[in-house]
């Protein structure tokens, strides 16, 4: 063994060099996922008397399928993804195009792009919760000043309005991330293409659809994949804005998992819900990579 190490073959050396990476991935990726799946087969209720874990087989999974809260949270999570990902893409593209204009001083534009991205999610949620507050919120103040209505809207106490407010906040928060990726993509497009198009008589609109969008497609797909994965994990903004309310009309899957494991101390069932979310993420992302990635 020692002699082998002193004089390793190329193959052995390759394995040796890869070993730290394998160990690291094993510890931080494979082990937690394995442990999560393992826990999902047990009754691991920490409030249940301190006894050992009881093996339940697939019982937790059968319960999840019958759980109305799980389906409500899944529906909310998917809706948030379906609304906020395209919303952030459109807004992010607008911001990126704006930042790409030939300003003499570029830093104020870029700084304003970076700020929402740099703000912690829960801060953004708290700030917008104040914006949408019935009495003290700036949104109702603007609506009143515009003379649109006299009676204030209870934004966060009406299910549809609360959902809208959350989606708008998420779009505001995440579009700058989209914009940053798209801005990098925009700057890779050679100016000569636009100059040639000008010569050929193409107007700005034609240039946008025929040059900018096709050339930007790889960046758009990268941005969409990242944003979709994080949208499926939405937690902080609805948690700080509505706590899933009114009732549980804005509760997401991540919030339901947090509530089950941390509030209810039901680690077994919480793990099963987390496996559900994991599967959902895999299905959505594979579909994405398969359909969207193929067209890139």
């Amino acid at each position: 063994m020692l002699s082998k190490l002193r004089d390793p073959s190329e193959k052995a050396l390759a394995w040796l060099l890869l070993a730290p990476a394998f160990i690291l991935i094993g510890l931080i990726v494979v082990y937690p996922i394995g442990k999560l799946i393992y826990n999902s087969f047990f009754d691991l209720r920490l409030s249940g008397g301190g006894g050992g874990a009881l093996f339940l087989g697939l019982q937790n999974y059968a319960d999840v399928i019958k759980d109305a809260d799980f389906w409500n949270a899944t529906k909310n999570t998917l809706l948030i993804t379906l609304i906020t990902v395209p919303g952030a893409l459109v807004m992010g593209l607008g911001l990126a195009l704006l930042a790409n204009l030939p300003f003499r001083r570029k830093w104020p534009v870029r700084l304003s792009l970076l700020l929402p991205w740099a703000l912690p999610l829960s801060f953004a949620g708290l700030i917008f919760a104040w914006f949408f507050h019935t009495e003290y919120g700036v949104v109702n103040d603007i609506v009143r000043r515009l003379g649109l209505q006299t009676e204030p809207t209870m934004w966060l106490l009406r299910p549809n309005w609360a959902f809208t407010a959350i989606c708008l906040t998420i779009i505001w928060k995440t579009s700058s991330f989209m914009a940053l990726i798209l801005l990098a993509g925009l700057q890779m497009i050679p100016k000569s293409l636009y100059e040639a198009a000008e010569v050929d008589g193409a107007n700005k609109w034609q240039q946008f659809w025929q040059i900018t969008i096709p050339m930007l497609m790889p960046s758009i797909i990268v941005a969409l994949i990242f944003r979709t994965i994080t949208a499926l994990q939405t937690f902080d903004i609805p948690y700080t804005m509505t706590r899933g309310g009114p009732g549980n009309t804005t509760e997401t899957l991540a919030m339901l998992i947090h509530k089950t494991t941390i509030e209810y101390l039901d680690v077994g069932y919480g793990s099963t819900l987390a496996v559900g979310m994991f599967l959902l993420s895999i299905v959505v992302t594979s579909f994405y990579l398969h359909r969207v990635g193929r067209n890139a």
């Binding site: 409030s47 301190g50 209870m154 009114p246 009732g247 941390i262």
Partner: protein
């Protein structure tokens, strides 16, 4: 001095220092957020350190609300972390923590359940789990009905005894003052721990119980529905705000302090805010009274308060238990009452001359706290609280009808509290 002597001296000094540090025990205490007054706790720890030179006490703070503190401690204790020796827990938690195996039974240190005799019954009961002393009472708290004494005098109104009387009194004041920003009554309707009390107060005041002695749910759906309908009626009458489902504990305190509320239900700590805060518009104008009852019922309030518990994972349990006994003693209770207006858990402290001199309103507070009721004691309190507060808030937001909401609470809690 010879070099060898110097070496011997240095070795001797380091040995003595080593022995001293070996005898020194450091206890780490989690004392929650500002409402648990870590500043005053520190003063008591200093007294303890003087009396016990071998023990040093460090303090850790964090989490502004009971839920946040519960979440933090759940994470630390679930990991069997020995970093924290002692912590303050809400009155609703001893059962949950004890059943999870997170707190050390204190019987052998304090001499059994007899040690809880001097305390108010509600605290003695909450701290005995499965026949063992789970924790020791630190200080009490309760929901009080604060009111504007000046406004009641101005309109020659007596303290209301029922919710209907309160509604009538509030409307008289609101009409008389003609100020559209003046609320009649402020309660907590946001989905926070306070909303559990918002659900229970009218229900209890109809003479009903939420659970039996074994913790089993005994919900009277009709009475609970009437209680929630009563809150909505107060909204319709303009006594409470339309967005009551958005109101949190600090919002009630701030609005009452700004002179925008005639009656307000809040915890004991709010008294000092009304009396001492520089921006208080109601200094000297505030009264405290028992909460009104439903017609034919009896006044009831929701008891809160904090307990000292020793971690099961502490490496210095005996010293930790010693500190807990000191912190729960009548002398410490008196210190906290005089210095910080924290309500005592020992009945005799309420009548102590020094306490009455420092906080005269404790005379009235004693009646309220003694008659107070504990929220359901359950090993699965996290679930109980979440179901009740979320549904209560949804009813107050009119997303669910009172009847549907109460049926949902019963359906979900029947599985949890059996």
């Amino acid at each position: 001095m010879k070099r060898s002597h110097l070496v011997t001296l240095a070795l001797g000094a380091s040995l003595v220092a080593g022995m001293a540090s070996a005898q020194q025990t450091t206890l780490r205490v989690f004392s929650g957020g500002q409402n648990q007054r870590p500043d005053l706790m520190r003063k008591l720890f200093d007294q303890f350190q003087v009396a016990n030179p071998g023990i040093k006490v460090d303090i850790e703070t964090g989490g502004a609300t009971s839920e946040l503190q519960r979440q933090y401690l759940s994470t630390v204790l679930n990991a069997k972390d020995s970093a924290i020796d002692i912590f303050l827990i809400d009155i609703v938690n001893p059962s949950q923590y004890s059943n999870a195996g997170w707190i050390e039974p204190l019987d052998s240190y304090v001499g059994g359940t007899a040690a809880l005799k001097p305390y108010l019954p509600v605290y003695a009961n909450a701290n005995v789990v499965n026949g063992k002393v789970a924790a020791m009472p630190a200080f009490a708290d309760a929901m009080f009905m604060y009111y504007r004494k000046d406004l009641l005098e101005k309109y020659k109104l007596a303290e209301p005894k029922t919710w209907d009387e309160l509604s009538a009194a509030a409307q008289t004041i609101q009409k008389g003052e003609g100020n559209p920003n003046l609320q009649g009554l402020s309660i907590q309707g946001a989905p926070i721990e306070g909303a559990v009390c918002t659900f229970l107060l009218p229900y209890w005041s109809a003479g009903k119980s939420f659970n039996d002695a074994n913790g089993k749910l005994t919900l009277d759906k009709e009475a609970a529905t009437k209680g929630m309908e009563m809150w909505l009626k107060l909204v319709d009458q303009g006594v409470m705000k339309k967005n009551i489902a958005e109101v949190t504990t600090p919002a009630t305190v701030n609005e009452f302090k700004a002179g925008q509320v005639a009656f307000a239900i809040n915890w004991g700590f709010a008294w000092d805010r009304f009396k001492d805060d520089a921006d208080s518009q109601v200094k000297g104008k505030v009264g405290v009274m028992p909460l009104p009852a439903m017609a034919g019922g009896k006044s009831a309030t929701c008891v809160g308060g904090w307990q000292w518990a020793v971690s099961s994972f502490s490496k210095s349990k005996a010293d930790a238990a010693k500190l807990v006994q000191f912190m729960a003693s009548p002398a410490s209770s008196k210190f906290l009452a005089v210095e910080g207006s924290l309500l005592p858990t020992v009945e005799s402290v309420y009548t102590d001359a020094d306490v009455i001199k420092a906080v005269p309103w404790f005379k009235d507070a004693a009646k309220v706290v003694v008659a107070g009721r504990a929220r359901p004691i359950s090993a699965r309190y996290g679930e109980v609280s979440d179901v009740v507060r979320t549904t209560t808030s949804a009813i107050l937001a009119r997303v669910k009808t009172p009847a549907d909401g109460v049926a949902e609470i019963e359906g979900k809690l029947n599985r949890v509290m059996r």
